[in-house]
Structures are given as C-alpha cells and as structure tokens.
C-alpha cells in the first residue's frame, strides 16, 4: 500500500490562506489584549466577569471554527460537537449560578468588605 513515491508534487502555498491564518491569530491577540485592559481598568464585578466570559467564548469560536476547521466541515458534524457543548453551558450556569448561590445563602456565607484582621502577613524572605 505504501509504495515509495519519488514523484510527489509539492503545491505552491496559497498566500491568501496563510494570511488568513495569521489574521485569526491577530484577532485572538487583540481580544486578549482587550481583556488585559479591562482587568486593570475596570472594577471587578458581575458585569466584568460576564464580559470576560463573552470574550472567551468569542476566542473559543475562532479556535474551533478556524484552527480546528469545524466551521468548514459538514453541518451534521458541526452540530454533533456544538450542541452537546451548548447543553453543558446550560448546566454550568445552572450549577454555578443557581446552586452555588443557593448553597452560599443556605450556609449563611457573607462577603468580606475589609481585609482580615485576625491574620497578618509578613513581608520579606
């Protein structure tokens, strides 16, 4: 089956295709840079976390669709991978947001407004 072939034809590189790959990489670098801007200039909170998760899903879309080529596969293959993951997203929101919040309430855990006083941290070493 694997007979020796000396007449392999190397096709020339398609410049447009290679530029497209680098363009996707540039988009992802830009999104990550924007995340850094937010991390240092925006107070932590639900809104910032929501933006971070949205940007992460955007980056994930680029990786899966372009790098892993799923966007160019048959629709059936695409949906058989994407649909189960969408249900997982639903599960994540349900478990983390609803159940996690319920357990926090049930245990009576409250957020802390000031640094802990009972403990101290020594600088140095």
């Amino acid at each position: 089956m694997e007979q020796a072939t000396s007449n392999v034809v190397v096709q020339p590189a398609d410049r447009k295709k290679i530029l497209g790959i680098w363009k996707v990489a540039l988009y992802m670098a830009a999104i990550t840079a924007f995340e850094y801007v937010l991390a240092f200039n925006m107070p932590a909170g639900t809104l910032r976390s929501a933006i971070f998760i949205g940007l992460t899903i955007w980056k994930a879309f680029y990786i899966v669709s372009e790098f892993m080529h799923l966007g160019h596969e048959v629709k059936g293959l695409m949906y058989s991978v994407v649909l189960p993951m969408m249900f997982i997203m639903w599960l994540i929101v349900a478990l983390v947001n609803l159940e996690g919040g319920a357990i926090k309430d049930a245990k009576g855990i409250v957020d802390v407004e000031a640094p802990a006083q009972t403990e101290h941290v020594e600088k140095g070493h």
Binding site: M1, Y36, L55, E99, K104, D111, A114, P115, E119, H125
Partner: protein
C-alpha cells in the same frame, strides 16, 4: 488493479461507500474524543466555579487586600511574579500573558503545519511541527516555573488555629502552598489550582509527545509514502483543543 481495490477498502469504514459526515474514521473519532474530554474539563471548571461562587468574596479596597483563608483571593495579587525576582502589582498577570501568547502561537504554527501537509510540502510540515514542539516545551517550562513559585511562596501567612497531622496548632504559619494549606486563601484555592492547571499541563505534555512522534514520522517520509498528511491534522485537532482549554483556564483562574 488489485492494489487500488485494497486502498479503497482501507479508506472506507469497512461498510458502504459513504463516509459519515464526509470525514475519515480517525478524524471523527478524534472529534468525539475531544468532546468527551471537553466534558471532563467542564466538570473541573464547574467544580472550580461552584466552590468559588459559594465562597466569601472580598469586596473591599483592592489596595488594602491581604491574603487570608477567610475569603477568596484576588487573582492579580496571587499571580504577580515574573522570572528574575520581579514581583509586585506592576507584574500582575504578565507571566500568564506570556504563557497564553506562547500557546496561541504554537497553535498557529500547528495550523501552518497542517496547511503545508495539504500541499504535500514535507519540508514545511517538518519545520512548523518543530516550532510547535518548541512552543509546547516553552509553555511547559513556564508552567513548571509558575508551580515552583506558587509552592515556594513569597510571604509568610498566619492562617490561625488548625489541625496539622492530627495535632491542634495555634497560629499556624505557612509559606507558599501545599495540598492542605496555602498562604493565598482557602485550602480549596490551591487544591483547584494544582488539579486544574496540572490536568491541563498533563494534556500539553501528552500533546508534545504526540507532536514529537508526528514530527519524526513526517521527517522520515512516512506520510509522503502514505500519500496524505491526515495524521498531522488529527494530532493538530488535539493540540488546538489544549489551546482552547487554556483560553478557559486563563479566564476563570487568572481574570475573574
């Protein structure tokens, strides 16, 4: 004629002429493996987010923040060191940014290797596979440094009265982190850090091993004789998946 018949039979799934989803057996199975692997990582990230969501958050002034077991730490205060003894707020998240950049770049070189494979360009497949391996090794080295720094720690934290090896210790002091206690926050913080970045790091390691095998096969002309470079594509899918998981780990561990 006889040879052609064998080749055709091998390229099928051992059934009819139609290939499900117009993809080869190996590629489809790689996709379904990655889907199941995504479930595993989802389970880990759910655990992380669930524990964090139900833990007390620190809502005070970030500048006055000190490490304590009583609330979840601010990530910028934990991951703020860079090799060479650089340490402090101005170095927050810089190192992990470098790690992210390295992994995304190695994903790009992998795409370029696959692209060269489609054109039967052995020389470029070998070249880009080598860059991908270098990127993977660089990422693993960064992670080794980060773990070492996390474990050794930078500050002594007194974490109160706890049970250590079955004994009640008052004013227990910890420097860095171990599996029971850590200077940064609740015990679950370090435990989750070790488990999730460790599990991801092990995936990267496996990916590097696979990439090395593919690199040697490509360099020795195995795929050229086979007539296609689909193996590069399949291992490429795995490698991109590792990058994909890191994008999520980066957001949940270091940003939020």
């Amino acid at each position: 004629m006889a040879t052609t018949a064998t080749v055709n039979k091998k390229s099928l799934w051992g059934g009819g002429a139609a290939k499900p989803f117009k993809a080869s057996y190996g590629k489809l199975m790689m996709w379904f493996f990655l889907l199941s692997d995504a479930f595993t990582f989802s389970g880990l990230l759910i655990t992380y987010a669930f524990l964090r969501w139900s833990a007390p958050a620190y809502n005070g002034d970030p500048d006055a923040f000190t490490f304590s077991t009583e609330y979840w730490p601010i990530p910028e205060k934990v991951y703020n060191a860079f090799p060479g003894g650089l340490h402090g707020d101005s170095w927050a998240l810089v190192f992990v940014g470098l790690m992210t950049f390295i992994l995304i770049m190695s994903s790009v070189t992998m795409v370029l290797a696959v692209e060269a494979g489609h054109r039967m360009d052995k020389k470029n497949v070998v070249k880009w596979m080598l860059w991908t391996i270098i990127g993977g090794l660089a990422f693993l080295s960064c992670q080794a440094w980060e773990w070492a720094h996390f474990i050794h720690g930078t500050e002594v934290a007194t974490i109160g009265d706890v049970v250590v090896n079955g004994r009640w210790v008052e004013g227990y002091k910890i420097f860095g982190a171990n599996l029971s206690f850590n200077q940064y926050g609740p015990p679950a913080f370090a435990a989750l850090f070790f488990f999730i970045t460790g599990f991801h790091g092990f995936h990267v390691f496996s990916g590097v091993v696979l990439n090395v095998l593919i690199f040697f096969n490509a360099a020795n002309g195995v795929y050229e004789r086979r007539g296609h470079y689909e193996m590069v594509e399949k291992v490429g899918l795995y490698w991109h998946f590792v990058d994909l998981v890191w994008v999520f780990v980066f957001t949940f561990f270091y940003l939020i």
